[in-house]
């Protein structure tokens, strides 16, 4: 109690952050922690990106040129793990930290010390994971989905590092999610009812519940692996009465909600940006909230559509096929709402809007291939081919990643007080757009033509499209250095931004000056 009173006293003398490294290590400020998350995620994005470029370089032509299959498998595995757990998820938590308190008129996150902890355990998790690359037996090589028994009985001994790394990442995510829920439910300014919350806050509230529900399942499944490897249990080994397919059920019970964890906050970002640059209210706020909730609910009952070929009974196949197809309905509602918001607006296309529009178009393409994959009998031909790789990169790169880019360009002037360079921003967009489509569109073709995923070498008929994809990947990859340059340039120089930044945007964050002061909303603001 005395701690609470003390912090109350401090808020009166408007003191800034501590100096030097202590500011970042000891910080409990939501803005500092948001910044830490975002930079961490960007470093991971470049790390995982380099691994993707190793993969694409090897696949530039048939034959084994640059890496051996053993190392190739380590690259695909680490690329997936780092992008999912190191790049996309921390980026969204970083955005949540920066924005949720400012959007709901709260002075900070509800649990600031836990906020510090949830960030600072992450570097250790990834240090554990990445250190395996330098060990004798090499990094995990069983794919980011780590199917047993390839990841248990037949795994390199470094799998244990991977397991503890995942445990720590899970703990971090759970703490982050608890914090976000506590903040949204308790610290809203009094007039902000739930149905007045910005959509970004709504999507994050739902995402946080998904995280709390499924991260323990992930922790459970890696713990079962740990037991199988070191303590003689047989959860996933038929020889001891277990079942390798059990692994897949447990993993995908985590894994499918996980893919929505990576996209729902991006839905929220795009729902903030499109109305601003259309100069028109979001078409259906209420239905957007309900659609997001329905997607979250459905995400729990579709997991086995990742497993149509494991030999499920007919009734199981039909159930998971129907449930998966059903997701198209609320997802369609969202897309239609964005289009209806743009319809008859007064549109301008600054960088955040370009990213948001590309998000809607390309995510929808990913949605279409998702619908095709949902059809169980046809999935027998798509499953584990590059068609799947194309599908999930279309929902994750122009979905999650473009959503994050859109959000960063949209709020960066608010964070650092300077406008980014619009010309460079647009260049970054167009290069990313071309590079991304060049990389992933041809993957649909090679997948349909029969190229399995996760292979270091391929038959000759796949050569041409793979070459195009590799060129695209290097365009996309190097373009991200331009993004780094743009962000640094904006922080150190650039035109001063106004408090509103954009043309009459909606939301409490635009009522405070740019850059946002170190402490905001010490007293709850009024909401219309």
């Amino acid at each position: 109690m005395s701690a609470v009173l003390e912090s109350h006293d401090h808020s009166h003398d408007h003191h800034g952050p501590a100096k030097g490294w202590r500011r970042w290590v000891y910080t409990t400020n939501h803005k500092d922690i948001g910044t830490l998350y975002l930079w961490f995620s960007f470093i991971m994005f470049l790390t995982g990106g380099c691994m993707a470029l190793v993969i694409r370089a090897e696949l530039f032509e048939p034959g084994l040129q640059i890496v051996e299959p053993e190392f190739f498998n380590q690259m695909t595995t680490m690329h997936g793990l780092i992008m999912v757990f190191g790049a996309v998820m921390p980026a969204f938590v970083g955005l949540a930290n920066w924005l949720i308190p400012m959007m709901i008129g709260a002075p900070d996150m509800a649990l600031p010390r836990m906020n510090n902890l949830s960030f600072w355990i992450l570097p250790f998790a990834f240090a554990l994971l990445l250190s395996t690359l330098f060990m004798e037996e090499g990094a995990p090589n069983f794919g980011w989905t780590f199917y047993a028994p390839l990841s248990t009985t037949y795994a390199p001994s470094t799998v244990t590092y991977f397991i503890f790394g995942v445990h720590i990442m899970g703990a971090s995510s759970i703490m982050g999610a608890i914090n976000i829920i506590a903040t949204i439910l308790n610290l809203r300014t009094p007039q902000m009812t739930l149905m007045k919350m910005p959509l970004f806050v709504w999507t994050w509230l739902i995402t946080a519940y998904l995280l709390i529900a499924v991260m323990p399942v992930l922790a459970g499944v890696v713990t079962m692996m740990l037991m199988d490897i070191h303590f003689g249990t047989s959860f996933f080994s038929a020889a001891g009465g277990g079942d390798p397919v059990l692994f897949q059920h447990v993993f995908w019970f985590f894994g499918h909600p996980e893919v929505y964890i990576m996209i729902l906050p991006a839905f929220g970002i795009v729902s903030q940006i499109i109305p601003t640059f259309s100069r028109k209210k979001l078409f259906g706020y209420t239905s957007m909230v309900y659609a997001t909730s329905s997607i979250a609910f459905l995400s729990f009952i579709v997991w086995a559509h990742h497993m149509f070929t494991v030999g499920m009974p007919l009734a199981g196949e039909l159930f998971f096929m129907y449930a998966t197809m059903l997701i198209a309905v609320p997802t369609g509602v969202k897309v239609f709402n964005w289009v209806a918001t743009m319809f008859k607006g007064a549109l301008t296309f600054e960088t955040p809007m370009l990213y948001a529009v590309a998000f809607v178009v390309l995510f929808t393409i990913g949605g279409f291939s998702g619908l095709m994959l949902a059809i169980a009998p046809v999935d027998f031909q798509y499953h584990d081919t590059y068609f799947v790789v194309a599908h999930f990169h279309y929902v994750l790169v122009p979905g999650a990643i473009f959503g994050i880019f859109a959000g960063v360009y949209y709020w960066l002037p608010k964070w650092c007080g300077n406008m980014y360079d619009e010309k460079l921003g647009k260049l970054h967009f167009w290069l990313s757009f071309v590079g991304m489509n060049m990389t992933f569109f041809p993957m649909h073709f090679v997948g349909l033509a029969g190229m399995p995923r996760r292979i270091p070498d391929y038959a000759l008929q796949f050569a041409d499209f793979n070459q195009i994809a590799s060129v695209g990947a290097f365009i996309f990859g190097t373009t991200q250095l331009l993004f780094l340059f743009i962000v640094i340039k904006t922080i150190v120089s650039g035109k001063k931004a106004t408090a509103e930044v954009w043309d009459n945007p909606e939301g409490l964050e635009w009522t405070i000056p740019s850059p946002a002061p170190y402490h905001t909303f010490s007293t709850p603001p009024d909401v219309k």
């Binding site: 048939p62 034959g63 084994l64 299959p69 053993e70 498998n73 037996e137 794919g143 199917y147 028994p149 390839l150 037949y154 080994s237 038929a238 020889a239 079942d243 390798p244 078409f283 259906g284 706020y285 239905s287 070929t309 494991v310 030999g311 007919l314 196949e317 039909l318 096929m321 197809m325 309905v329 509602v333 743009m342 008859k344 607006g345 007064a346 549109l347 301008t348 178009v361 929808t364 279409f368 059809i375 009998p377 046809v378 027998f380 031909q381 499953h383 584990d384 081919t385 073709f445 349909l448 033509a449 029969g450 399995p452 996760r454 292979i455 070498d457 391929y458 038959a459 000759l460 008929q461």
Partner: protein
């Protein structure tokens, strides 16, 4: 003169480009395959693809119309409409109806694929790291099917042939117009047996048996690959199915049965060192070289060298044990169940006497067979 030369060069360029694209393989779609099921799947795939295209054209059409016509720079004034329950209900109901339209043919295709009726021929398919084993259960014929692409082609030391990575030493042979049932399982990790042209993809799961079936209507060679990540050489365990007419198939089976009898004979005869070495070199190239290298140098640390190794130059019994039973906790598989006694004896003898290893000792196939029956 110049103005004439340029179009001429341009045409040559275009022609060259066209000839390149003609030679290159730009396959962009799923194969309709050769079976009734694969055709059904292909049709379903195309229906859903076109539905997606139509929805895409409508939705993106409206969107791009807004992007072009409702720009602020053209003086567009924003409308103020928002929230309409009627519109929301319409765009919830229409997709729902479309989905039902898709679900009906999908359900009937799935029920067809799950047809449990009796089969004419049963073949057990077992995935190993990294090859397939086929067992003709009734006929008593069984063999491994290994990648036959030479290492030199993989490492770009030689031009790649047409069926690069999609060729095996022993294809799976099946008769046409017969219902062939595959009983799919695995020996180590999960694999997935996939041949696109007959639209069969089934996971091979250690300890469990999955079922799939096909009826191939015409003779031909159909190629596929393992579809589930199964370790280092996941990309190097193709599947080749050869469909033959009933007579050709019968002749093939008779020949296989004869070969099996001959193999038994070979097992019982007394071999010379030279004979075992010659046979052993072939067995080594197919089964051991992927990890231990053709020259026995291995890929340390995961795959140790055999050249000068303690096992290959030590007591023969421990050498036999490790080849037959594998080494738990490492990549070394138990080859006792994968190779015949002749192959085992040959490869062990070869390893002890190749690349400068010169033990000079040997083991007879019949001794291996006796050891195996004793256990």
């Amino acid at each position: 003169m110049l103005s004439k030369a340029i179009p001429c060069r341009l045409w040559i360029g275009v022609l060259l480009f066209l000839s390149l694209t003609v030679r290159a393989d730009w396959e962009v779609n799923m194969t309709p395959g050769v079976t009734e099921v694969s055709q059904q799947i292909y049709d379903l795939h195309m229906i859903i693809f076109w539905i997606c295209v139509i929805i895409g054209v409508v939705v993106f059409g409206i969107m791009f119309w807004s992007i072009i016509a409702h720009r602020k720079s053209l003086g567009a004034k924003p409308a103020t409409f928002h929230e309409s329950t009627t519109v929301e209900i319409i765009w919830t109901a229409i997709p729902f109806a479309i989905l039902i339209g898709m679900a009906i043919p999908a359900t009937s295709a799935l029920i067809n694929i799950y047809d449990p009726s009796e089969s004419d021929l049963d073949i057990k398919v077992t995935g190993y790291q990294w090859k397939w084993h086929y067992d003709y259960i009734e006929e008593g014929v069984g063999f491994f099917s290994n990648l036959s692409t030479p290492t030199d082609e993989i490492y770009n030391r030689r031009d790649k042939n047409e069926h690069y990575l999609l060729e095996v030493d022993e294809p799976l042979v099946v008769p046409i117009n017969k219902k062939v049932r595959f009983l799919v399982t695995a020996n180590d990790v999960i694999h997935s047996w996939w041949v696109p042209e007959i639209a069969v993809k089934k996971d091979a799961i250690p300890g469990f048996v999955n079922e799939a079936w096909t009826i191939i209507p015409e003779p031909g060679i159909y190629r596929g690959q393992c579809a589930e990540l199964c370790g280092k050489d996941h990309g190097f365990m193709p599947i080749v199915v050869e469909a033959k007419t009933q007579e050709d198939y019968d002749a093939w089976i008779a020949q296989r049965q004869e070969a099996a009898a001959k193999e038994r004979e070979l097992r019982d005869k007394v071999w010379t060192l030279e004979g075992l070495m010659a046979r052993g070199e072939k067995v080594y190239a197919t089964n051991c070289a992927a990890c231990h290298n053709a020259d026995g140098s291995g890929i340390p640390p995961a795959f140790p060298a055999l050249k000068g190794s303690a096992i290959a130059t030590g007591p023969i019994q421990s050498h036999i044990d490790i080849v037959l039973k594998g080494k738990p906790g490492t990549y070394m598989a138990a080859f006792g169940s994968q190779l015949s006694p002749v192959e085992l004896a040959a490869v062990i003898t070869y390893e002890r006497n190749a690349w400068g290893n010169s033990k000079g000792d040997m083991i007879q196939p019949v001794d291996i067979a006796n050891m195996q029956t004793a256990e």
